[in-house]
Amino acid sequence: MSKRPDLFTSYQKEISIFPNNTQKFWFVTLLLSSIYICFIASDYWIILITNALLVSIAAWGLNIVSGLAGQINLAHGVFVGIGTYTSAVLGGVATRSVIGFEMDLLIWLPLSGIVAALIGVLISPIAVRLKGLNLGLVTLAFVFIGSHFFSNLTFITGGSGLGRKSAKLNILGIDFNSGYEIGNFLIQKNQILYLISLLVTVLLGLGVKNLVRSKTGRAFAAIRDRDIAAEALGINLFKYKATALAISCFYGGVAGALLTTTFGGVEPGTFNLLYSILFIAIVIIGGAGTVLGPLFGAFFYVLFPAIIQYVVLSSNLSEQDLLITPQQIERIIFGLFIILFLIFEPRGLWGIWFRLRNYFKAWPFSY
């Protein structure tokens, strides 16, 4: 280990993801234990963590367009929906009511992101001309247009109330739908999906980090802070706003594809306004504009209800005693958290983590 971990001898080292060995060590430890969890945890927890990983991918997407580039987007859930249905059509099984092509994951996963991104590019001429409240209203309209298409294109979505099955899990021609046997060891479908989600999360997380420390990320932030100055410095506003939206939609699409595959099926009513607002809440709670924030926010959003439920169930109190259901408690506390974070910690969970880290970095002289 180097004796002066904060002394950098090149510009690249200064902006590297893990500037010192301690950070590398903790990242590798975290990654290895994440993989290990997959083989010891129960199905319930595996699905829960998979869900959290995928929600954080979608939240990263929203964070790029709203947190980083400052363009409010109330329709992120629609792009998640577009990714979902792209994957379900390409990877799903055809039935009497819906179409499906049973393609490989390596085809439908990237395409889910790309199709969502293309639709993002398609609507960007409208979105990039507006900002602030007007943009918010237009994206609100996208939610309703999206919902309309989702419930009426029944050959794709199965129609409202019915829904359809998700994509099949075939990778490189191998069928993983009922698990896969290596020797005597059986890997469940959930475990495979968990590992895929972990891999995609690491890759796309790396993408976000790289974006932030590049010309493109700086241009996004410049547009967020002062668009007139950004334009005067040679940043093409239209191009960069459209790029931010496209990248955001790509993340949303990929997340949507894997989320649905984890749940096995999807109903078009899922992608309503509340679903889009949810991602905004996650980004705010996690820390808007930060790299790790959406990850924290997503884990908070997914694991928090599970913990509440666990507490309620283990407290031996019936619903009659509590007067409200665990779901209601969860929503009330979740709403409360959004308000508290906006008032007290605009940088969200990331901000708290940042201060904790700095506290322990300087320990025992932290004052």
């Binding site: 510009y11 590049s214 010309k215 700086r218 007139i228 410095l233």
Partner: protein, 255 residues
């Protein structure tokens, strides 16, 4: 000598208000050109027209003989025009270094997908951009503020960083909108020294708007005086101080 910027009968109206009224002037390449005049004379409007933020109602603006009427601000920036703003327009949630790197935006050419993959090309170009930024930081003597967030820095330093951000573009023409506004004598002298250095060492054509007459008279090579959107005078700084219409604009007319 070539004209860096040329205004030909430019007028700019906002409803009934004539912000610029039939303005014509030429800025020779390599000059330190100053626009002075009382508040509301239209000085900043001239900048906003050169910069593409406003479109003139009539007339032509040329930058190195290229008509810019149809160009957006980012295209004009790519012609080599950079500017600072009267009220600081820095990116407040970023560090000094990031602000200056954004100034170097047009010297980096890789796409968004490449930037996410962080290829060798990205790394090399980021290093080059950092070199440009470090040169600027060195030039303006703001080394100790490199990693400070803009919000935490004093006003005088922020003004200097904004100058740095404009310089990182390696402009051919630099528009400075009141660089010495709100500064004490010492800070004004610092800024004047930097402006002269930029003009002489880097050979940048500078258009300067400021209210500090002492500074303008000391450093400008050419000057125009404006009042109520009209051009009153153009010539050398020493002649401007003697011109009757200029004195009237600043001090009023005696009955």
């Amino acid at each position: 000598m070539k004209n860096a910027v040329e205004f030909v009968n430019v007028s700019l109206n906002f409803g009934g208000v004539k912000a610029l009224d039939d303005i014509s002037f030429e800025v020779k390449e390599g000059s330190l050109f100053s626009i002075i005049g009382p508040n509301g004379a239209g000085k900043t409007s001239v900048f906003n027209c050169v910069n593409g933020i406003y479109r003139p109602t009539s007339g032509e603006i040329k930058i190195y003989d290229q008509e810019i009427a149809d160009l957006k601000p980012d295209k004009i920036a790519n012609l080599g025009v950079s500017r600072t703003f009267q009220n600081i327009e820095l990116f407040e949630n970023m560090t000094t270094l990031d602000n200056i790197l954004i100034g170097a935006h047009k010297h980096i050419n890789y796409g968004p997908v490449t930037s996410m993959l962080r290829t060798k090309k990205v790394k090399n170009q980021e290093d080059e951009a950092r070199d440009i930024a470090e040169d600027v930081i060195d030039f303006l003597e703001i080394e100790e503020h490199r990693f400070s967030y803009i919000l935490s820095l004093p006003y005088g330093i922020q003004k200097r960083i904004e100058l740095g951000r404009a310089l990182a573009m390696k402009p051919k023409v630099l528009l400075l909108d009141e660089p010495a506004a709100g500064m004490n004598n010492e800070e004004t002298e610092d800024i004047a020294r930097f402006i002269l250095d930029i003009h002489e060492e880097l050979g940048v054509t500078i258009i300067l708007v400021d209210h500090d007459m002492n500074m303008v008279m000391d450093i400008a090579t050419d000057v125009i005086v404006m009042d109520f959107g009209k051009k009153l005078f153009s010539g050398s700084p020493s002649d401007a101080a003697k011109d009757q219409s200029v004195i009237e604009a600043y001090l009023g007319v005696s009955d």
